[in-house]
Symmetry: C2
Subunit: 363 residues, 2 copies
Amino acid sequence: MTTLNHYHYKRLQEFCSSVFVKAGVEKEQADIVAASLVQADLRGVDSHGVVRTAIYLKRVEQKMINPKAKIRIEKEDESTALIDGCNHFGAVVGDKALKLAMKKAKANGVGMVGVKNSNHFGTGAFYALRGLKEDLVTIVMSNASQTMPPTGGIKPFIGTNPLAVGIPCGECEPFLLDMATSVVARGKIIVAAQKGEAIPHGWAIDKNGKSTTNAEEALKGSVLPLGGPKGYGISMFIDIFSGVLTGAGFGKYVNNMYENWKAPQNVGHFFITIDVNKFMDIKTFKHRMDLYIRDIKTEPKAEDVEEIFIPGEMESRRSEQRKKNGINLSQNVQRELTNIGMKYGVSLKDALMLNHNTEGKGV
Amino acid sequence: MTTLNHYHYKRLQEFCSSVFVKAGVEKEQADIVAASLVQADLRGVDSHGVVRTAIYLKRVEQKMINPKAKIRIEKEDESTALIDGCNHFGAVVGDKALKLAMKKAKANGVGMVGVKNSNHFGTGAFYALRGLKEDLVTIVMSNASQTMPPTGGIKPFIGTNPLAVGIPCGECEPFLLDMATSVVARGKIIVAAQKGEAIPHGWAIDKNGKSTTNAEEALKGSVLPLGGPKGYGISMFIDIFSGVLTGAGFGKYVNNMYENWKAPQNVGHFFITIDVNKFMDIKTFKHRMDLYIRDIKTEPKAEDVEEIFIPGEMESRRSEQRKKNGINLSQNVQRELTNIGMKYGVSLKDALMLNHNTEGKGV
């Protein structure tokens, strides 16, 4: 039975890409967006997975994303560049910015590329992972529409602006931190509300700015930044790098992807890439990283803990499992994607795992 | 009466500098270390203030810091450099690294300078504030000796590795985030233990890795990273940038300043400086920063909140107040500094505010 809702990642990616192509996106660019979504599902970040296909398509259909745009490099120097995304897909703009940043790091040791006029770009890990393949240290930031109050405020003002950092290792799994700057994902509060469960104090405030354990009240209020004023500060500097410094929106000038149908999002991103060799031979560095990670993983563990994990390690393992066993989609997501497939003449069923036990073996 | 424990910041700085000079430090370098300590007191970060004079001196006396060292640039390219601090004072090494990073940013848009073989460098704000004076965006990181467990661990493994970010503004107070990666400063737990008070769950674990509200037990255990696995990840990447990438110590190879008298600390730092003009005209950028900050400060406030603050704003106001009214030192710190002064032939009394109400006026 499990095979009936398990999808093969490559064919699921083909499905999404085909739908985007039918909606007017160039094949190569559709592939990038689809890869970004499916990779999130593989890594267990389902909130950023193929569940977003519908909203991405709707924004194309409503002309809130322009898949025909010609992305421009507006300003460029040896180690720096500013890119105008011209309202293309975030993942396509991000892909171009990352490639430019990587090229600069390889040539000059450092690449810093800011991006304006972009859209939701998927997970930061999507970019940091590609930096890792090139042995580069990669920092990725993006701003997002308003969900969290400043410390002392009661209304959403800053986004849960994500920060991702990828650092290559030798034999160990690379370090890959990818985090939102909120205490918890808003999705967790939605799930609690659906189940009628309470949430812990510290996750959110109600619409009057009071701490609440009522998930329904929390959804009418704001999710809180991690660590109070510290998370507020981190979220703010990500907003400044991604938005203020690039010419993108920031604070209330970043439009909500789900709610605003009058204007593009104007999201901003910021990519930093570093060639390790400018500081230390990469081989030596990787040995040192392996030593560091092995040191941590052999630390004494708390009673109920089986293993100490490095950031990104759990997601990497989950990705390997899901490549083998398929990506499990909820009934809702399957229904939504099936409808999209019907509209654009692409069959979701073709992406189903044919045989849960054998199909993954060759992957 | 208050004047008897209030010290004039300039004369307190002269006192500290004079003591360091008598202990064998060159005047110019002694001034840097003293400025770093007194600035922390001015900003209200008393834990990093002149209270550290005693331990710094002891490490010089015990040959754990070498104030005669010649700091070396070990590796250098247009935008990057690696500095060997040769075990000089952290503030002196950090000063040199920051200056080099700022020079590179002005010439090429970006400066990245890693540092190894250094010592405790004071607050990150000390460096970020100087970047601000030059209109540069500045990121400062340092690792520190072990105080926090990895997520799932029970023993201190990583430091409360600080991160500071300075971003220039126009008319508004600049953005200046300077934070440790722990939930709270260990100092707060020490204070609770002294008063016999309980601490909230989530601040610390006992020596068996269990959450505790007992401050005494917490001090035998570990302080926790902010936001659980997120703070653990942030602290780790700061350790990697500052330690693994530079050739400094990292994790358990950073020695404790108070406990290890057999080897230098081998702390590492990492400085990133950015010229805004490579992305956007600095004047336009400052206008956008002012808009951003005014937007935040006029957000609706929670009931018990008088004002929404930007990171660094409270510290800046406190600094202005203390410049006027003097720095209030505890009896313990006064006693310690008096003894140091007697040993080196420098009078602490000369640094007292003569008249609390009038002396600050001209400052």
